[in-house]
Amino acid sequence: MAQIFPRSANAVFRATVMGVIGLVAATVALAYGIHGGGYFTRQDLIRHQPVPFSHRHHVESMGIDCRYCHWLAEESHFAGIPPTHTCMGCHSQIWAESPMLKPVRDSYESGEPLVWNRVHDLPDFVYFNHSIHVAKGMGCATCHGRVDEMALVWQENTLHMAWCLDCHRNPEKYVRPKDQIYNMAWNPTAREQAELGPKLVEAYDIQTQDHCYTCHR
């Protein structure tokens, strides 16, 4: 019986197989890229706010400590967003007539809260807790970046689970002395960190918690 397929069909077949594999790989790579990209993570996306509050101005120029506004970072899972009264503590005196601050004054007078856009938004099945991270020597800047240099805040990191796990599995790479937690500029060399990290992990009794119920429940 004569052959049904000509010899060239082999090449077509091979090309098809390779093409399909390549297409699948490309699709996966594309999906991965999109998923890890800024559209989904919102990494580096500058968020506009009802009041163009500048961390750079308040922290770098005025020297206000993080905890003045985020007063719960050491106490609760939630770091705290300042009530209008905190803003007005100063702004009833300085920049009291500024049009930029009108929403703050309106809120103060009407009792209607300000509504901010959340920058760091974890999925609802993730239970992050600020207090334990601060207590164990994690600096603000490690996760949030140099907020003191941001006018409007963006999300510095992906906040992907792999990113969390990197530190949860190797805390010595990121831990810092407790007196440097609110120092945004703390920047040890790799050598210094390699020397200091393991010591601090021991001193602060840091556990490498990477089981699921650490964050999910």
């Binding site: 719960l72 899972h77 939630f78 509504v115 609802d124 099945f125 239970y127 207590a135 999910h216 429940r217």
Partner: protein, 1001 residues
Amino acid sequence: MSENNADTGALEAPTHWTSLEELARTPEFEAFASAEFPTAWEEARHSEAGRRDFLKLMGASLGLAGLSNACVRQPDEKIVPYVKMPEELVPGKPLEFASAVERGGYGTGVLVETHTYRPTHLRGNPEHPDSRGGLHPQAQAGVLDVWDPDRSRQIRRRGNVSTWDSFVREMNEVIANLSEQNGAGLRFLTGQTSSPTLLRTFEAIRQRMPEARWHIWEPVSRHHMYEGARRAFGRYLEVRYRLDRASVVFDLDADFMGAMPGAIRHQAEVLRTRNNQDFDRWCRLYVAEPTPTVGGSAADHRLRIRSGEAGALLAAVARALGLEVPRPKASVDGAFATAVARDLAAAGRGAVVVVGDAQPPEVHALAHAIHAHLGAAGHAVVTTEPVLAPVVDPMQSLRDLVSAMNAGEVETLIMLDRNPVYDAPADLEFGKALSKVPNRVHVGAHTDETADVSHWHIPSHSAFEMWGDVRSTDGTATIMQPTLRPLHDTHSPLAVLSIFSGENEGTDYDRVRKTWKERLKGDFEKTWRRALHDGTVPDTAFRVRQPKLDPKVLKGAPPPGPDGLEVRFVPDPNLWDGRFATNPWLLELPQPITKLSWDNAVLVSPSTAEKQGLEATDVVELRVEDRMVEAPIWVLPGMADDVATVHLGWGRRSAGPVGSGQGFDAYAVRSSQRPWNTAGKLKKTDRKKRLACTQDHFRMMDRGLIRAATTDHYASHPQFAHAREAHLPKLTLWKPWSYEGHKWGMTINLSACNGCNACVAACQSENNIPVVGKEQVAKGREMHWIRVDRYYSGPVEDPVLTHQPVTCMMCENAPCETVCPVNATVHGPEGLNQMVYNRCVGTRYCSNNCPYKVRRFNFHLYADWYEESLKGQRNPDVTVRGRGVMEKCTYCVQRINRATIQARVEGKKRIETDSIQTACQEACPSRAISFGDLNDPDADVARKQKTPLSYALLGELNTRPRTTYLARLFHRNDELPVPTPARQTESHGDAAGKGGTHGSH
């Protein structure tokens, strides 16, 4: 399973069974028990869609599932800070307020867990005498009422939206018009109350309008208790049982751990002692009742009697005690009466006869005579001033109101939190009489049956939106404080009354404070703050008053019960008199004994059913006098013969989209003459009603699950719980886990469990567990993480009941973990078997492989993601699950994590012993559930697991569960014949052995 069928056929009838179907091993039961999930195809086959549609849908859903997972971007979120930060609040941490929940005039102290002042969960106030830390489901579910989307939100006048101001204006006109006649024509209708502020307000109204009348209506009242005391002591007194001082308790048709006010305290006092193996201090519990109750489940001896025979039985006991009472006409179980009498006599001061509120006053009076005779009066049974005030017979009060309405004497009727159009006895024809009242005002949380026919409807606050006060059964007052401002345009009954009392300046807060300013001595502000903080007002408990017994009570004979079929009306364990019928948690909660969900039924014993030619789910016509209602039959082992028990509170016509039309309305055949038990007839129709009953759900089959013995048998055979365990080689493929830190474990004491469902309700509230509806429950898809299995053993007619709460066992060798293809269920370092929702793809392999059947699958989007108001109730520390994921008990990991983080922030290495309580443990009035660190020798759970009573469910499977059970012990009286537990233990030990040898899966 199929290879076992031949064996199971050869097996003798099970020793512990959950249903008559299981006992008979019907094919339906086998099919239901062996098929864990009805397959999607099975379901589709019964639906209208054909095979092609099914395949299309499957394909489409696969494709869409892939797409939706890839393309979902988190929606933007907002942060809304306070304008001015409340001082005591730490956002992210719960804040608790002491308050109380009320039922029938009595208050139970609760601590309200709030998250930014949103009430999310309740627990019993350990400082409160009627809670002592425990909380029953009705109170527990109260937190959902705040967030109920079907709550009435608007003031209505003749069906149109109106305002509070126009209501006040119109009521002031009413007052002005009636002032000349001193308020004649103005009537109020309320429930029974103990609130000092409400009483003070009514007193003010009386002074202002002496001719206005106050009526009290309570479908389930305690008036017979008061009336019994009046006959015995010459005046109305509150009877309180001090069961902590009792050594023998005889429950005479009382449901003293369920329906009776003070039930949580009773349960705590009797059952908490069962957690210690100091048997001399155990209280022996006799229960004589027509229908099994939670008390009957905990009983050492249980006797089935008709309600109408209770008086005769008590008379026989009294005669055996040497009291000169008339010989009872009805025949009673003499051996039981004699044995109880002898035991009561031996207990002396510690003897208690608890008489049901539905029993006639003569029986109550006779019990007082027995207590006086034995010296228990003033010791284990005390009397105080009545807690409810004024003491009136609600039935008479309602009757007076109806005749006044019919006579045209009522011009304005104010009904506060009452629904008499639904729950008044049928013969009074309340609705008809009401239509003759020209001005009808209804105040209530829902637009219920009464609101529908009222001119004015004022929506009322929920319990946690208002100020108030209430007393407990010992008189201790609690100030009810709000945790949040009213969500809607609602008003309190007190505010409505204050229009009439003239105290309409100010708020409820001012009114309650005014009441207590007059009463509290010393520094008022200090005491007030203390009372709010503690949840009890100091020194408000009533003093014990012990008047002399009138010897005449011995002469009175209780009226004979009805002949023929006795129809009993009892409050529903979940819905009570119908007021909770809008609460989906309570509608779905399987009832403690029947395990019916979303329905009530006419309960009859197996032999009565046979005699009448009835089967379960048959629809019958229940006829009482000339009234009739159609209702389904449910055959309940343990019922007295020739008794039909019906639960009130169902068949609501206007209870919102959730509660309306569920079950049947027993009020339709209830008469005001005989509201508790009466003669009736059942007439079979040719129809059946589908009922959702959970008793056959999640079966583990009879494999030595319940182990029990008498305390004497335990003394001589301490290892009895393990006697018949199969000793199979403990082989495992996996390396054993080691735990350096904590190792969490749980133990449930079957002796202390009476199946009250407190744990189930608490878990529902704590862990954001959705309701699924009747159709889904019927398919075995209820989502409760903890279920309470109810087992029968012994004769079909007169079985012993045992309840067993079953939750995730947190196995060491967890069968679920090994089969999950995506590692969505894994073992944690502290021994928790972790369920990770965000990894779960819904294969359901884990559930299939779980021998305990504790995993729950979200077949649909059961949690309501879209109803805004329900979001407020959810525990923010627990994920709200979506469709297609598995879930199960987590040992309340959110509480473990909170404690762990707190301890580690404070620099502690370990969490303090027994400082974490799971929600179920916390709610349990009997403290039957222990939870803690098995690595900590001081932990309660570690100590309990070391006793020989501790056994694992299906231990022969070598799953090594973390949760163990303490075998049930009966503190029996040797004089009374009962199925001997020793023999029972052996026989179901056999079953365990057999189950083990052919338990091939």
